[in-house]
Protein backbone atom coordinates (compact mmCIF):
# COMPACT_ATOMS: atom_id res chain seq x y z
CA UNK A 1 0.00 0.00 0.00
CA UNK A 2 2.78 2.36 1.02
CA UNK A 3 4.65 1.52 -2.14
CA UNK A 4 1.56 2.19 -4.25
CA UNK A 5 1.07 5.58 -2.63
CA UNK A 6 4.71 6.35 -3.12
CA UNK A 7 4.47 5.48 -6.81
CA UNK A 8 1.36 7.60 -7.18
CA UNK A 9 3.15 10.47 -5.48
CA UNK A 10 6.00 10.18 -7.94
CA UNK A 11 3.61 10.08 -10.87
CA UNK A 12 1.91 13.25 -9.66
CA UNK A 13 5.23 15.02 -9.35
CA UNK A 14 6.19 13.93 -12.81
CA UNK A 15 2.92 15.35 -14.11
CA UNK A 16 3.61 18.60 -12.30
CA UNK A 17 6.82 18.94 -14.23
CA UNK A 18 4.78 18.53 -17.39
CA UNK A 19 2.41 21.32 -16.43
CA UNK A 20 5.34 23.52 -15.54
CA UNK A 21 6.78 22.87 -18.95
CA UNK A 22 3.57 23.85 -20.69
CA UNK A 23 4.28 27.39 -19.69
CA UNK A 24 7.75 27.26 -21.11
CA UNK A 25 9.14 28.46 -24.38
CA UNK A 26 9.47 26.15 -27.41
CA UNK A 27 11.20 22.94 -26.50
CA UNK A 28 12.95 20.25 -28.41
CA UNK A 29 13.37 16.54 -28.39
CA UNK A 30 14.64 14.34 -25.64
CA UNK A 31 17.31 13.02 -27.95
CA UNK A 32 19.31 16.02 -29.10
CA UNK A 33 19.57 15.09 -32.76
CA UNK A 34 16.48 16.85 -33.94
CA UNK A 35 16.98 19.23 -36.83
CA UNK A 36 19.16 21.98 -35.41
CA UNK A 37 17.08 25.05 -36.01
CA UNK A 38 18.94 26.96 -33.34
CA UNK A 39 20.95 26.43 -30.24
CA UNK A 40 18.85 24.63 -27.71
CA UNK A 41 19.01 23.33 -24.20
CA UNK A 42 17.05 20.17 -23.44
CA UNK A 43 15.99 18.83 -20.09
CA UNK A 44 14.36 15.49 -19.65
CA UNK A 45 13.15 13.12 -17.02
CA UNK A 46 12.66 9.41 -17.60
CA UNK A 47 11.28 6.72 -15.37
CA UNK A 48 11.75 3.17 -16.54
CA UNK A 49 11.59 -0.41 -15.43
CA UNK A 50 14.46 -2.68 -16.26
CA UNK A 51 15.70 -6.23 -16.40
CA UNK A 52 19.21 -7.53 -16.55
CA UNK A 53 20.75 -10.94 -17.00
CA UNK A 54 24.31 -12.18 -16.89
CA UNK A 55 24.51 -15.76 -18.01
CA UNK A 56 28.08 -16.48 -16.94
CA UNK A 57 26.88 -16.54 -13.35
CA UNK A 58 23.23 -17.32 -14.07
CA UNK A 59 22.24 -13.94 -12.64
CA UNK A 60 19.12 -11.99 -13.34
CA UNK A 61 17.54 -8.98 -11.74
CA UNK A 62 14.44 -6.86 -12.02
CA UNK A 63 15.06 -3.14 -11.73
CA UNK A 64 11.66 -1.68 -10.98
CA UNK A 65 12.37 2.05 -10.89
CA UNK A 66 15.11 3.52 -12.99
CA UNK A 67 15.17 7.31 -12.98
CA UNK A 68 17.19 9.40 -15.37
CA UNK A 69 17.75 13.09 -15.79
CA UNK A 70 19.09 14.30 -19.10
CA UNK A 71 20.54 17.67 -19.97
CA UNK A 72 21.89 18.34 -23.41
CA UNK A 73 23.05 21.25 -25.43
CA UNK A 74 22.60 21.49 -29.16
CA UNK A 75 24.11 24.05 -31.52
CA UNK A 76 24.52 24.85 -35.19
CA UNK A 77 27.60 24.72 -37.32
CA UNK A 78 25.81 25.81 -40.50
CA UNK A 79 22.38 25.47 -42.09
CA UNK A 80 22.63 21.66 -42.27
CA UNK A 81 25.16 20.63 -39.68
CA UNK A 82 24.89 20.78 -35.95
CA UNK A 83 26.54 19.40 -32.82
CA UNK A 84 25.42 18.16 -29.47
CA UNK A 85 26.69 17.41 -26.02
CA UNK A 86 24.48 15.36 -23.73
CA UNK A 87 24.87 14.52 -20.07
CA UNK A 88 22.67 12.05 -18.31
CA UNK A 89 22.48 10.95 -14.74
CA UNK A 90 20.42 8.01 -13.59
CA UNK A 91 19.97 5.94 -10.48
CA UNK A 92 18.10 2.87 -9.34
CA UNK A 93 18.02 0.29 -6.60
CA UNK A 94 17.32 -3.37 -6.98
CA UNK A 95 17.20 -6.51 -4.87
CA UNK A 96 19.71 -9.27 -5.40
CA UNK A 97 17.72 -12.46 -5.85
CA UNK A 98 20.70 -14.65 -5.02
CA UNK A 99 21.51 -12.84 -1.80
CA UNK A 100 18.14 -12.12 -0.21
CA UNK A 101 18.21 -8.96 1.83
CA UNK A 102 21.00 -7.44 -0.20
CA UNK A 103 20.31 -4.43 -2.39
CA UNK A 104 22.40 -2.72 -5.01
CA UNK A 105 22.25 0.98 -5.78
CA UNK A 106 23.51 1.99 -9.17
CA UNK A 107 24.32 5.44 -10.45
CA UNK A 108 24.73 5.75 -14.16
CA UNK A 109 26.45 8.70 -15.74
CA UNK A 110 26.39 9.12 -19.48
CA UNK A 111 28.18 11.53 -21.70
CA UNK A 112 27.92 11.61 -25.44
CA UNK A 113 28.77 14.18 -28.02
CA UNK A 114 28.80 14.36 -31.78
CA UNK A 115 27.79 16.12 -34.93
CA UNK A 116 24.57 15.81 -36.86
CA UNK A 117 23.22 16.59 -40.29
CA UNK A 118 19.61 17.45 -40.81
CA UNK A 119 17.16 18.00 -43.61
CA UNK A 120 13.49 18.10 -44.38
CA UNK A 121 10.94 16.48 -46.63
CA UNK A 122 7.28 17.27 -47.29
CA UNK A 123 5.50 16.96 -43.99
CA UNK A 124 8.55 16.21 -41.90
CA UNK A 125 12.21 16.46 -41.07
CA UNK A 126 15.11 14.16 -40.38
CA UNK A 127 18.46 14.25 -38.67
CA UNK A 128 21.37 11.82 -38.51
CA UNK A 129 24.23 12.08 -36.09
CA UNK A 130 27.49 10.40 -35.26
CA UNK A 131 29.44 10.77 -32.06
CA UNK A 132 31.00 8.99 -29.15
CA UNK A 133 29.41 7.96 -25.89
CA UNK A 134 30.66 6.82 -22.50
CA UNK A 135 28.49 5.18 -19.85
CA UNK A 136 29.77 4.84 -16.32
CA UNK A 137 27.87 2.65 -13.89
CA UNK A 138 28.81 2.95 -10.22
CA UNK A 139 27.50 0.37 -7.81
CA UNK A 140 27.05 0.43 -4.06
CA UNK A 141 25.82 -2.70 -2.31
CA UNK A 142 24.13 -2.91 1.04
CA UNK A 143 26.35 -5.82 2.06
CA UNK A 144 29.82 -7.10 1.28
CA UNK A 145 30.37 -10.33 -0.58
CA UNK A 146 33.42 -12.06 0.77
CA UNK A 147 33.52 -14.84 -1.79
CA UNK A 148 36.74 -15.68 -3.58
CA UNK A 149 34.92 -15.20 -6.88
CA UNK A 150 33.31 -11.78 -7.35
CA UNK A 151 29.68 -11.59 -8.37
CA UNK A 152 28.69 -9.39 -11.27
CA UNK A 153 26.11 -7.30 -9.46
CA UNK A 154 28.61 -6.47 -6.70
CA UNK A 155 31.20 -5.15 -9.11
CA UNK A 156 31.84 -1.53 -7.99
CA UNK A 157 31.85 -0.02 -11.46
CA UNK A 158 31.40 -0.71 -15.15
CA UNK A 159 32.33 1.44 -18.11
CA UNK A 160 30.91 1.06 -21.60
CA UNK A 161 32.00 3.30 -24.45
CA UNK A 162 31.79 3.37 -28.19
CA UNK A 163 30.70 5.17 -31.31
CA UNK A 164 27.15 6.50 -31.23
CA UNK A 165 24.87 6.76 -34.22
CA UNK A 166 21.71 8.81 -33.75
CA UNK A 167 18.65 9.47 -35.84
CA UNK A 168 15.56 11.55 -35.52
CA UNK A 169 12.55 11.41 -37.80
CA UNK A 170 9.74 13.93 -37.43
CA UNK A 171 6.25 13.91 -38.98
CA UNK A 172 3.54 16.50 -38.37
CA UNK A 173 3.00 20.21 -37.98
CA UNK A 174 4.53 22.90 -35.83
CA UNK A 175 1.74 22.46 -33.33
CA UNK A 176 1.87 18.72 -33.02
CA UNK A 177 4.33 16.26 -34.41
CA UNK A 178 5.35 12.67 -33.90
CA UNK A 179 9.04 12.02 -33.57
CA UNK A 180 11.02 8.82 -33.55
CA UNK A 181 14.40 9.25 -31.93
CA UNK A 182 16.90 6.45 -32.10
CA UNK A 183 20.38 5.73 -30.92
CA UNK A 184 22.61 2.84 -31.86
CA UNK A 185 25.97 2.10 -30.38
CA UNK A 186 27.05 -0.76 -32.64
CA UNK A 187 30.00 -1.92 -30.58
CA UNK A 188 30.69 -1.01 -27.02
CA UNK A 189 33.98 -1.47 -25.27
CA UNK A 190 33.45 -2.69 -21.74
CA UNK A 191 35.50 -2.50 -18.59
CA UNK A 192 34.71 -3.91 -15.17
CA UNK A 193 36.10 -3.14 -11.76
CA UNK A 194 36.73 -6.81 -10.97
CA UNK A 195 39.40 -8.60 -12.92
CA UNK A 196 37.81 -11.89 -11.90
CA UNK A 197 34.71 -11.16 -13.92
CA UNK A 198 34.41 -11.41 -17.65
CA UNK A 199 32.45 -8.68 -19.33
CA UNK A 200 30.35 -10.02 -22.17
CA UNK A 201 31.75 -9.54 -25.61
CA UNK A 202 30.12 -8.00 -28.70
CA UNK A 203 28.11 -5.52 -26.72
CA UNK A 204 25.75 -3.34 -28.68
CA UNK A 205 23.22 -0.84 -27.46
CA UNK A 206 19.99 0.33 -29.05
CA UNK A 207 17.55 2.97 -27.91
CA UNK A 208 14.26 3.81 -29.56
CA UNK A 209 12.15 6.63 -28.21
CA UNK A 210 8.92 7.55 -29.99
CA UNK A 211 7.44 10.74 -28.63
CA UNK A 212 4.72 13.28 -29.14
CA UNK A 213 6.01 16.77 -29.62
CA UNK A 214 3.62 19.57 -28.71
CA UNK A 215 3.70 23.18 -29.82
CA UNK A 216 6.85 23.07 -31.82
CA UNK A 217 8.71 20.94 -29.27
CA UNK A 218 7.77 23.02 -26.30
CA UNK A 219 6.88 19.80 -24.56
CA UNK A 220 7.66 16.22 -25.50
CA UNK A 221 6.13 13.14 -23.98
CA UNK A 222 7.25 9.73 -25.07
CA UNK A 223 8.22 6.20 -24.26
CA UNK A 224 11.75 4.92 -24.51
CA UNK A 225 13.02 1.39 -25.08
CA UNK A 226 16.65 0.76 -24.37
CA UNK A 227 18.58 -2.48 -24.66
CA UNK A 228 22.20 -3.43 -24.24
CA UNK A 229 22.93 -6.83 -25.73
CA UNK A 230 26.03 -8.97 -25.61
CA UNK A 231 27.19 -12.55 -25.51
CA UNK A 232 25.37 -13.94 -22.51
CA UNK A 233 24.32 -10.51 -21.32
CA UNK A 234 21.26 -8.34 -21.63
CA UNK A 235 20.17 -5.11 -20.01
CA UNK A 236 16.76 -3.80 -20.94
CA UNK A 237 14.81 -0.83 -19.76
CA UNK A 238 11.69 0.90 -20.91
CA UNK A 239 9.46 3.63 -19.62
CA UNK A 240 7.87 7.00 -20.20
CA UNK A 241 9.78 10.22 -20.38
CA UNK A 242 9.06 13.86 -20.46
CA UNK A 243 11.25 16.56 -21.96
CA UNK A 244 11.25 20.28 -22.25
CA UNK A 245 13.65 22.46 -24.08
CA UNK A 246 14.54 26.05 -24.59
CA UNK A 247 15.71 27.35 -27.96
CA UNK A 248 17.32 30.47 -29.31
CA UNK A 249 18.77 31.77 -26.11
Amino acid sequence: MTKTLHDAYKTCLTALVGFAALGATPASAFTPVSPPADTALHLGYERATGKESYEAQALSADQPAIERLVASFQGRLNSEMGYWLALSRGAYKFDDQDFPGTQHLRHESRVNAGVSRSGSFPGGAWALGVGYGVDLLQVQSSARLGDPEPAFFFSPWQVLHGVTLNESLRLGTDKVSVVLDGRWEPYLFAHLADAGLSMPGYLTSVRLAPRLSIWDDRLSVGYAFERVLGAGFERHSEGPFLAISVRRF
Partner: protein, 374 residues
Amino acid sequence: MAVRNYKHRSALLKGLLGLSVVTATGCSVLGFLGTGETFETTGDVQHRAFNVAGDVMVPASLTAVAPLTAVAPLTAVAPLTAVAPLTAVAPLTAVAPYRLLSIGPDSPSDETEWNDDGTVRFALVQVIDPMTGEVVATTRTDVAGRYQLRMVLPGRKKPYVVQIILKNRNGDVAGFLAAPMGINLTSIRDKNPRLSVSPGSTMMTFSSLLMTEVYEGFDLRNGFLGIRSQRLATLVQSLPPTTVNDASQLLSDSDTFENIASFDAFVSDTATASAVMTANVKRIGQRAAGTDNLSGEQSLGYQASALGLLVEKLAQWKAAGVSNQSRIFERAADEVDLRNVREQAERIQRDLPPIPLPTLPPPPGNSEIGIILK
Protein backbone atom coordinates in the same frame (compact mmCIF):
# COMPACT_ATOMS: atom_id res chain seq x y z
CA MET B 1 14.00 40.96 -27.98
CA ALA B 2 14.50 41.60 -24.30
CA VAL B 3 10.99 40.34 -23.57
CA ARG B 4 11.68 37.17 -25.53
CA ASN B 5 14.90 36.47 -23.66
CA TYR B 6 13.10 37.04 -20.40
CA LYS B 7 10.45 34.49 -21.39
CA HIS B 8 13.09 31.94 -22.26
CA ARG B 9 14.94 32.40 -19.03
CA SER B 10 11.67 32.13 -17.18
CA ALA B 11 10.81 28.88 -18.93
CA LEU B 12 14.22 27.46 -18.21
CA LEU B 13 13.88 28.29 -14.55
CA LYS B 14 10.43 26.67 -14.45
CA GLY B 15 11.78 23.52 -16.00
CA LEU B 16 14.69 23.36 -13.63
CA LEU B 17 12.36 24.00 -10.72
CA GLY B 18 10.07 21.17 -11.78
CA LEU B 19 12.87 18.68 -12.11
CA SER B 20 14.37 19.83 -8.84
CA VAL B 21 11.07 19.21 -7.10
CA VAL B 22 11.00 15.63 -8.37
CA THR B 23 14.50 14.85 -7.27
CA ALA B 24 14.75 16.90 -4.13
CA THR B 25 11.57 15.80 -2.38
CA GLY B 26 13.05 12.49 -1.39
CA CYS B 27 10.96 10.51 -3.81
CA SER B 28 13.84 9.89 -6.16
CA VAL B 29 16.92 7.76 -5.82
CA LEU B 30 18.57 10.30 -8.05
CA GLY B 31 18.84 12.77 -5.23
CA PHE B 32 18.96 16.49 -5.80
CA LEU B 33 19.56 16.97 -9.51
CA GLY B 34 21.14 13.59 -9.82
CA THR B 35 23.68 13.96 -7.07
CA GLY B 36 22.50 10.64 -5.82
CA GLU B 37 21.41 8.73 -2.77
CA THR B 38 24.12 6.66 -1.11
CA PHE B 39 24.15 3.29 0.57
CA GLU B 40 25.76 2.20 3.77
CA THR B 41 27.35 -1.21 3.46
CA THR B 42 26.21 -2.82 6.67
CA GLY B 43 28.39 -5.91 6.72
CA ASP B 44 28.80 -9.22 5.00
CA VAL B 45 26.05 -10.87 3.00
CA GLN B 46 23.74 -12.65 5.42
CA HIS B 47 21.59 -14.84 3.22
CA ARG B 48 22.21 -16.77 0.05
CA ALA B 49 19.67 -18.42 -2.20
CA PHE B 50 20.18 -21.54 -4.23
CA ASN B 51 18.12 -23.68 -6.58
CA VAL B 52 18.42 -27.41 -6.38
CA ALA B 53 16.98 -29.59 -9.10
CA GLY B 54 17.17 -33.18 -10.18
CA ASP B 55 15.30 -36.36 -10.93
CA VAL B 56 13.68 -38.84 -8.64
CA MET B 57 14.20 -42.34 -9.89
CA VAL B 58 14.04 -45.95 -8.90
CA PRO B 59 15.78 -48.81 -10.72
CA ALA B 60 14.08 -49.07 -14.09
CA SER B 61 13.61 -52.80 -13.67
CA LEU B 62 11.20 -52.13 -10.82
CA THR B 63 8.76 -50.37 -13.10
CA ALA B 64 8.21 -53.49 -15.17
CA VAL B 65 6.83 -55.41 -12.23
CA ALA B 66 3.66 -53.41 -11.60
CA PRO B 67 2.41 -49.85 -11.32
CA LEU B 68 3.55 -48.19 -8.11
CA THR B 69 -0.04 -47.89 -6.98
CA ALA B 70 -0.38 -51.65 -7.08
CA VAL B 71 2.95 -52.54 -5.53
CA ALA B 72 2.84 -54.57 -2.35
CA PRO B 73 3.86 -52.77 0.82
CA LEU B 74 7.39 -53.17 2.07
CA THR B 75 7.86 -56.21 4.21
CA ALA B 76 11.43 -55.35 5.10
CA VAL B 77 10.63 -53.72 8.42
CA ALA B 78 14.25 -53.60 9.47
CA PRO B 79 16.25 -54.25 6.35
CA LEU B 80 19.50 -53.05 7.84
CA THR B 81 19.34 -55.14 10.97
CA ALA B 82 20.99 -58.04 9.34
CA VAL B 83 23.59 -56.00 7.53
CA ALA B 84 24.60 -53.67 10.35
CA PRO B 85 27.44 -55.93 11.45
CA LEU B 86 28.96 -55.37 8.02
CA THR B 87 29.87 -51.89 9.13
CA ALA B 88 32.22 -53.27 11.73
CA VAL B 89 35.87 -52.78 11.04
CA ALA B 90 37.72 -54.58 13.75
CA PRO B 91 38.53 -53.23 16.21
CA LEU B 92 36.56 -50.08 15.45
CA THR B 93 33.06 -49.53 16.66
CA ALA B 94 30.33 -50.92 14.48
CA VAL B 95 26.73 -49.82 14.51
CA ALA B 96 23.60 -51.61 15.50
CA PRO B 97 20.76 -52.48 13.20
CA TYR B 98 18.12 -49.91 12.49
CA ARG B 99 14.76 -49.97 10.87
CA LEU B 100 13.69 -48.26 7.74
CA LEU B 101 10.38 -46.51 7.79
CA SER B 102 9.08 -43.63 5.78
CA ILE B 103 6.22 -41.24 5.39
CA GLY B 104 4.36 -40.26 2.31
CA PRO B 105 2.27 -37.55 0.76
CA ASP B 106 -0.87 -36.76 2.69
CA SER B 107 -3.07 -35.93 -0.21
CA PRO B 108 -1.27 -36.00 -3.50
CA SER B 109 -3.00 -33.94 -6.13
CA ASP B 110 -1.96 -36.43 -8.76
CA GLU B 111 -1.32 -40.08 -8.15
CA THR B 112 2.34 -40.82 -7.59
CA GLU B 113 3.50 -43.27 -10.20
CA TRP B 114 6.68 -44.26 -11.88
CA ASN B 115 7.51 -43.92 -15.53
CA ASP B 116 9.03 -46.66 -17.64
CA ASP B 117 12.51 -45.17 -17.34
CA GLY B 118 12.37 -45.35 -13.54
CA THR B 119 11.61 -41.68 -12.88
CA VAL B 120 8.78 -41.08 -10.45
CA ARG B 121 6.12 -38.52 -11.28
CA PHE B 122 4.16 -36.47 -8.73
CA ALA B 123 6.28 -37.74 -5.86
CA LEU B 124 6.48 -35.67 -2.70
CA VAL B 125 10.04 -34.44 -2.13
CA GLN B 126 10.86 -33.43 1.42
CA VAL B 127 13.94 -31.53 2.49
CA ILE B 128 14.85 -32.15 6.12
CA ASP B 129 17.27 -30.28 8.33
CA PRO B 130 19.22 -32.95 10.22
CA MET B 131 20.01 -30.49 13.02
CA THR B 132 16.35 -30.01 13.84
CA GLY B 133 14.70 -33.01 12.25
CA GLU B 134 12.17 -30.72 10.64
CA VAL B 135 10.93 -30.54 7.09
CA VAL B 136 12.13 -27.21 5.76
CA ALA B 137 10.85 -27.48 2.19
CA THR B 138 8.65 -29.68 0.09
CA THR B 139 7.83 -29.95 -3.55
CA ARG B 140 6.50 -32.51 -6.01
CA THR B 141 8.12 -33.98 -9.04
CA ASP B 142 6.64 -33.15 -12.40
CA VAL B 143 5.33 -35.61 -14.92
CA ALA B 144 8.89 -36.42 -15.99
CA GLY B 145 10.04 -37.06 -12.44
CA ARG B 146 11.94 -33.79 -12.11
CA TYR B 147 11.86 -31.53 -9.08
CA GLN B 148 13.14 -28.06 -8.36
CA LEU B 149 13.45 -26.14 -5.13
CA ARG B 150 14.56 -22.65 -4.31
CA MET B 151 15.91 -22.21 -0.81
CA VAL B 152 17.57 -19.50 1.21
CA LEU B 153 20.49 -20.12 3.54
CA PRO B 154 21.55 -18.09 6.53
CA GLY B 155 25.25 -18.20 5.67
CA ARG B 156 27.22 -20.35 3.27
CA LYS B 157 26.87 -23.91 4.53
CA LYS B 158 23.98 -26.10 5.49
CA PRO B 159 23.37 -29.84 5.43
CA TYR B 160 20.02 -31.26 4.36
CA VAL B 161 18.58 -34.67 3.69
CA VAL B 162 16.20 -35.02 0.76
CA GLN B 163 13.74 -37.88 1.04
CA ILE B 164 10.93 -39.32 -1.00
CA ILE B 165 8.45 -41.76 0.40
CA LEU B 166 6.52 -43.83 -2.06
CA LYS B 167 3.16 -45.27 -1.17
CA ASN B 168 0.84 -47.57 -3.03
CA ARG B 169 -2.83 -46.90 -3.64
CA ASN B 170 -3.74 -48.19 -0.20
CA GLY B 171 -1.41 -45.75 1.48
CA ASP B 172 1.09 -48.42 2.44
CA VAL B 173 4.73 -47.53 2.26
CA ALA B 174 6.06 -49.12 -0.88
CA GLY B 175 9.44 -47.52 -1.27
CA PHE B 176 11.95 -45.06 0.05
CA LEU B 177 14.58 -42.85 -1.60
CA ALA B 178 16.91 -40.28 -0.09
CA ALA B 179 19.89 -38.11 -0.85
CA PRO B 180 22.38 -36.20 1.28
CA MET B 181 22.71 -32.53 0.35
CA GLY B 182 25.64 -30.69 1.90
CA ILE B 183 25.17 -27.19 0.56
CA ASN B 184 28.30 -25.07 0.47
CA LEU B 185 27.85 -21.78 -1.38
CA THR B 186 31.42 -20.56 -1.58
CA SER B 187 30.87 -19.07 -5.01
CA ILE B 188 28.00 -17.60 -6.97
CA ARG B 189 28.49 -20.50 -9.38
CA ASP B 190 27.44 -22.99 -6.69
CA LYS B 191 23.91 -21.64 -6.54
CA ASN B 192 22.29 -24.06 -8.98
CA PRO B 193 23.32 -27.51 -7.79
CA ARG B 194 21.85 -30.62 -9.32
CA LEU B 195 20.93 -33.53 -7.11
CA SER B 196 19.07 -36.56 -8.30
CA VAL B 197 17.47 -38.76 -5.70
CA SER B 198 18.29 -42.27 -6.77
CA PRO B 199 19.34 -45.66 -5.46
CA GLY B 200 22.95 -44.50 -5.33
CA SER B 201 22.15 -41.38 -3.32
CA THR B 202 19.97 -43.45 -1.01
CA MET B 203 22.94 -45.67 -0.36
CA MET B 204 25.05 -42.67 0.65
CA THR B 205 22.34 -41.36 2.95
CA PHE B 206 22.02 -44.72 4.70
CA SER B 207 25.77 -44.90 5.03
CA SER B 208 25.84 -41.48 6.70
CA LEU B 209 23.10 -42.54 9.08
CA LEU B 210 24.92 -45.73 10.01
CA MET B 211 27.74 -43.66 11.49
CA THR B 212 25.50 -41.73 13.86
CA GLU B 213 23.90 -42.28 17.24
CA VAL B 214 20.40 -41.76 15.88
CA TYR B 215 20.01 -44.77 13.63
CA GLU B 216 18.07 -46.55 16.36
CA GLY B 217 15.41 -43.89 16.20
CA PHE B 218 15.17 -44.04 12.46
CA ASP B 219 11.74 -45.26 11.64
CA LEU B 220 10.06 -45.89 8.31
CA ARG B 221 6.94 -44.12 9.47
CA ASN B 222 8.83 -40.86 9.86
CA GLY B 223 11.90 -41.24 7.73
CA PHE B 224 14.42 -38.55 8.65
CA LEU B 225 11.67 -36.44 10.14
CA GLY B 226 12.44 -35.97 13.82
CA ILE B 227 16.00 -37.22 13.45
CA ARG B 228 18.25 -34.63 15.08
CA SER B 229 21.94 -35.26 15.02
CA GLN B 230 25.07 -33.17 14.87
CA ARG B 231 26.88 -36.26 13.60
CA LEU B 232 24.44 -36.77 10.75
CA ALA B 233 24.60 -33.06 9.88
CA THR B 234 28.40 -33.13 9.83
CA LEU B 235 28.52 -36.26 7.70
CA VAL B 236 25.93 -34.93 5.25
CA GLN B 237 27.75 -31.59 5.06
CA SER B 238 30.74 -33.44 3.64
CA LEU B 239 28.65 -34.54 0.66
CA PRO B 240 28.11 -31.67 -1.79
CA PRO B 241 25.25 -32.18 -4.25
CA THR B 242 27.31 -32.12 -7.42
CA THR B 243 29.67 -34.79 -6.11
CA VAL B 244 26.82 -36.88 -4.77
CA ASN B 245 25.04 -36.59 -8.10
CA ASP B 246 27.98 -37.94 -10.08
CA ALA B 247 28.83 -40.64 -7.56
CA SER B 248 25.23 -41.76 -7.26
CA GLN B 249 25.00 -42.20 -11.01
CA LEU B 250 27.96 -44.55 -10.81
CA LEU B 251 26.41 -46.45 -7.92
CA SER B 252 22.94 -46.55 -9.45
CA ASP B 253 24.38 -48.11 -12.60
CA SER B 254 26.18 -50.79 -10.62
CA ASP B 255 25.28 -54.46 -10.56
CA THR B 256 23.66 -53.95 -7.15
CA PHE B 257 20.54 -52.50 -8.71
CA GLU B 258 20.43 -54.54 -11.86
CA ASN B 259 17.32 -56.65 -12.30
CA ILE B 260 15.80 -55.56 -9.00
CA ALA B 261 12.29 -56.96 -8.97
CA SER B 262 10.82 -55.57 -5.77
CA PHE B 263 11.25 -52.69 -3.39
CA ASP B 264 11.99 -55.17 -0.64
CA ALA B 265 14.94 -56.38 -2.65
CA PHE B 266 15.90 -52.82 -3.45
CA VAL B 267 15.89 -51.73 0.17
CA SER B 268 17.72 -54.84 1.24
CA ASP B 269 20.42 -54.48 -1.38
CA THR B 270 20.77 -50.76 -0.74
CA ALA B 271 21.13 -51.39 2.95
CA THR B 272 23.75 -54.05 2.40
CA ALA B 273 25.73 -51.87 0.04
CA SER B 274 25.51 -48.89 2.38
CA ALA B 275 26.85 -51.01 5.23
CA VAL B 276 29.79 -52.05 3.10
CA MET B 277 30.32 -48.42 2.16
CA THR B 278 30.23 -47.43 5.83
CA ALA B 279 32.78 -50.06 6.72
CA ASN B 280 35.12 -48.71 4.09
CA VAL B 281 34.63 -45.14 5.25
CA LYS B 282 35.57 -46.23 8.74
CA ARG B 283 38.55 -48.11 7.37
CA ILE B 284 39.80 -44.97 5.62
CA GLY B 285 39.35 -42.96 8.79
CA GLN B 286 41.11 -45.59 10.82
CA ARG B 287 44.11 -45.67 8.49
CA ALA B 288 44.30 -41.88 8.32
CA ALA B 289 44.14 -41.46 12.09
CA GLY B 290 46.54 -44.31 12.75
CA THR B 291 44.85 -45.04 16.03
CA ASP B 292 41.58 -46.24 17.48
CA ASN B 293 41.83 -43.99 20.49
CA LEU B 294 39.87 -41.05 19.12
CA SER B 295 37.47 -38.76 20.86
CA GLY B 296 33.93 -38.54 19.53
CA GLU B 297 34.77 -35.30 17.74
CA GLN B 298 37.96 -36.69 16.24
CA SER B 299 36.21 -39.83 15.10
CA LEU B 300 33.45 -37.77 13.48
CA GLY B 301 35.99 -35.56 11.77
CA TYR B 302 37.80 -38.52 10.27
CA GLN B 303 34.64 -40.29 9.22
CA ALA B 304 33.10 -37.20 7.62
CA SER B 305 36.33 -36.46 5.83
CA ALA B 306 36.69 -40.05 4.67
CA LEU B 307 33.08 -40.19 3.49
CA GLY B 308 33.42 -36.98 1.51
CA LEU B 309 36.64 -38.06 -0.15
CA LEU B 310 35.38 -41.56 -0.91
CA VAL B 311 32.32 -40.13 -2.64
CA GLU B 312 34.53 -37.62 -4.42
CA LYS B 313 36.63 -40.50 -5.72
CA LEU B 314 33.51 -42.22 -7.03
CA ALA B 315 32.44 -38.98 -8.71
CA GLN B 316 35.86 -38.71 -10.34
CA TRP B 317 35.50 -42.23 -11.67
CA LYS B 318 32.12 -41.36 -13.10
CA ALA B 319 33.56 -38.28 -14.79
CA ALA B 320 36.39 -40.38 -16.17
CA GLY B 321 33.91 -42.81 -17.69
CA VAL B 322 34.66 -45.68 -15.33
CA SER B 323 31.66 -47.94 -15.08
CA ASN B 324 30.68 -51.11 -13.34
CA GLN B 325 33.42 -52.26 -10.99
CA SER B 326 33.49 -55.06 -8.50
CA ARG B 327 34.45 -54.19 -4.93
CA ILE B 328 33.96 -50.56 -5.84
CA PHE B 329 34.13 -49.21 -2.28
CA GLU B 330 37.24 -51.15 -1.39
CA ARG B 331 38.99 -49.97 -4.52
CA ALA B 332 37.94 -46.37 -3.99
CA ALA B 333 39.00 -46.52 -0.34
CA ASP B 334 42.44 -47.70 -1.37
CA GLU B 335 42.86 -44.70 -3.64
CA VAL B 336 41.78 -42.01 -1.18
CA ASP B 337 44.68 -39.78 -0.16
CA LEU B 338 45.08 -40.21 3.60
CA ARG B 339 46.86 -36.88 3.98
CA ASN B 340 43.79 -35.16 2.55
CA VAL B 341 41.65 -37.10 4.98
CA ARG B 342 43.72 -35.86 7.90
CA GLU B 343 43.69 -32.23 6.74
CA GLN B 344 39.96 -32.19 6.15
CA ALA B 345 39.30 -34.05 9.40
CA GLU B 346 41.08 -31.29 11.32
CA ARG B 347 39.02 -28.63 9.53
CA ILE B 348 35.80 -30.46 10.25
CA GLN B 349 36.69 -30.81 13.92
CA ARG B 350 37.49 -27.11 14.16
CA ASP B 351 34.10 -26.25 12.68
CA LEU B 352 32.17 -28.42 15.11
CA PRO B 353 30.14 -26.48 17.68
CA PRO B 354 31.59 -26.64 21.21
CA ILE B 355 28.90 -29.02 22.39
CA PRO B 356 29.75 -32.60 23.41
CA LEU B 357 28.54 -35.18 20.96
CA PRO B 358 26.16 -37.83 22.22
CA THR B 359 27.64 -41.21 22.89
CA LEU B 360 27.39 -43.71 20.09
CA PRO B 361 25.38 -46.83 20.86
CA PRO B 362 27.33 -49.97 21.60
CA PRO B 363 28.50 -51.77 18.50
CA PRO B 364 26.41 -54.66 17.31
CA GLY B 365 27.79 -58.10 17.72
CA ASN B 366 29.16 -59.71 14.63
CA SER B 367 26.55 -61.95 13.17
CA GLU B 368 27.15 -64.90 10.99
CA ILE B 369 26.46 -62.90 7.89
CA GLY B 370 28.81 -60.10 8.81
CA ILE B 371 32.27 -59.73 7.45
CA ILE B 372 35.31 -58.27 9.09
CA LEU B 373 37.24 -55.89 6.93
CA LYS B 374 40.84 -55.50 7.98
